[in-house]
Amino acid sequence: MTGIKIRDLVFTYPDSKYPVLKNINLDFEPFSWTAIIGHNGSGKSTLARLIDGLLTPTAGSIEVDGIQVNESSLGKIHQQIGFVFQNPENQFVGATVADDVAFGLENRQVAQDKMEKKIDKALKMVGMTDYKNTAPISLSGGQKQRVALAGILALMPKIIILDEATSMLDPLARREILSLLQKLKNEYNLSIISITHDLKEMELADQIIVLNDSQVAQQGSPSEILKDKALLLEIGVGVPASQQLQELLSKRGIDIPNRYLNLEELKIWLKQQLQ
């Protein structure tokens, strides 16, 4: 079981009067994909950092896979959780792709003779084998994020946290990274927590958590959350195109199901109606 349990979590930054997060109670199911959405400054990134022990809660508790996150368990927590950050440039430590993937292994004191194999395997998982000895400057943003993923996968984590990891990529690279993540999740039984503004990324999730005003505003399946137009507009996410079209059609007097249809579902519904 690699679930995450958060109880009565409060977090206030040292130089601030108001908490960024308060009364957070959440459960993340093992092997699930959870999307966390909300305004900039709603505490999404803070929550992710707290889960990984990169920040210490002001009050409350976090449990990852049955382990209480605190100063003494940090090593174990970092081992369970891999973290991919927003800017691909700023998480690339090594002088070459192989060196960068090795960084986590070196920290984990993996014996040198075992590293090569692990690095090769991780690079293969993300499709970057050909770039093993390439310097970061000649890689694209999408390729750098793949290397970041490889660096994490080499350590065999159970949970991957993506902190707007695709937001700086072009649409093609974004699509590729997301389908790679889907594949990896299924093959290696990973849990994924993704902080995102991207509607397609939200649709991939099993559960969406909406943060607003430092609190959990809403929690549910994508079809429940993505149908809530008022909520989506309030947190600046925007309404999915399929949802907009559904509304435009119903305004024109067309009898369209009231439940949320994603793009593919909507296409099929329209096809059935019109053929």
């Binding site: 990169l54 800017n87 998480q91």
Partner: protein
């Protein structure tokens, strides 16, 4: 994108020198630089120059490319040499004006300084052209290892160094980008008095610092998330292994040294 050869950049070709262990290259470069200071006459100067030419030949990097690397520094060398000519005294005087004079000793001194400058810069360019920066960092780490005995945090220092080197191209790129953006806002970097030119640095340096601090902060978090603990022991992926060729290179340097000593004794 910017593949201009600058002083200290790596030239990715194949050669015997490229394959050598970075440690032996670094040591040889240091010893060679020390040897330069033992040059006392024409013959010794030629002898060491010859050794440098062999190294350049073995590096498989064209002479032209070395020249391109050194060219930007040439003005500094020339100014230093001019000062040396005009302001040092001794020996026969050829010309003088106020405190400036051209003397025989001044000319010889400046010739020696010119020689040292050019040879030392070229020798270190041979090192950097044939050795990637991270390899040099590895070699430095190895050289500094004895310092661990006196509690110098060698591992932290070398990791810091290699990360700094890794970010050099990133920051160069960023500088370019910021300069371009400010140029688009009408700033002209090539005009104005010295003071205005210095003022023009502000719109470049401030964003550069702000962005670099942000970068450093993110990098630190990312490193922590990947389990980095500065006080914990780490293993090392990149291991340096001595090969036969390294021994041959060392022997070559030994011959150069002995040759130098012989020339100094017998001529």
């Amino acid at each position: 994108m910017n593949s201009k050869i600058v002083f200290g950049s790596y030239v990715p070709v194949r050669s015997i020198l490229h394959r050598l262990d970075p440690r032996i290259k670094l040591i040889m470069c240091i010893i060679y630089v020390i040897l330069i200071f033992f040059v006392n006459n024409f013959l010794t100067a030629i002898w060491l120059l010859l050794a440098l030419f062999v190294a350049i030949k073995l590096s498989n990097v064209e002479l032209k490319q070395y020249w391109q690397g050194i060219k930007p520094l040439f003005l500094i060398i020339l100014i230093t040499v001019m000062f040396q000519i005009l302001f040092s005294s001794g020996g026969k005087m050829y010309w003088h004006w106020g405190i400036m004079a051209i003397t025989r000793d001044g000319l010889i001194n400046s010739l020696i300084i010119f020689y040292r400058f050019v040879v030392i810069i070229t020798a270190s360019t041979v090192l950097t052209a044939t050795t990637q920066t991270f390899q040099i960092a590895d070699a430095l780490a190895w050289l500094m290892k004895p310092l661990q005995v006196i509690k110098v945090p060698v591992n932290q220092i070398t990791l810091m160094l290699s990360i700094a080197l890794r970010f050099v191209p990133t920051i160069m790129d960023e500088t370019n980008k910021i300069m371009k953006a400010q140029r688009a806002r009408g700033i002209n970097f090539n005009a104005g008095s010295l003071l205005t030119r210095i003022k023009h640095l502000v719109p470049i340096l401030i964003p550069l610092f702000v962005n670099s601090f942000k970068r450093a902060e993110e990098l630190a978090t990312a490193m922590e998330a990947r389990g980095y603990d500065p006080d914990a022991p780490r293993t090392h992926y990149r291991q340096l292994v001595w090969h036969n060729n390294d021994a041959w290179a060392g022997l070559g340097l030994l011959i150069v040294t002995i040759g130098l000593v012989c020339i100094r004794i017998f001529f």
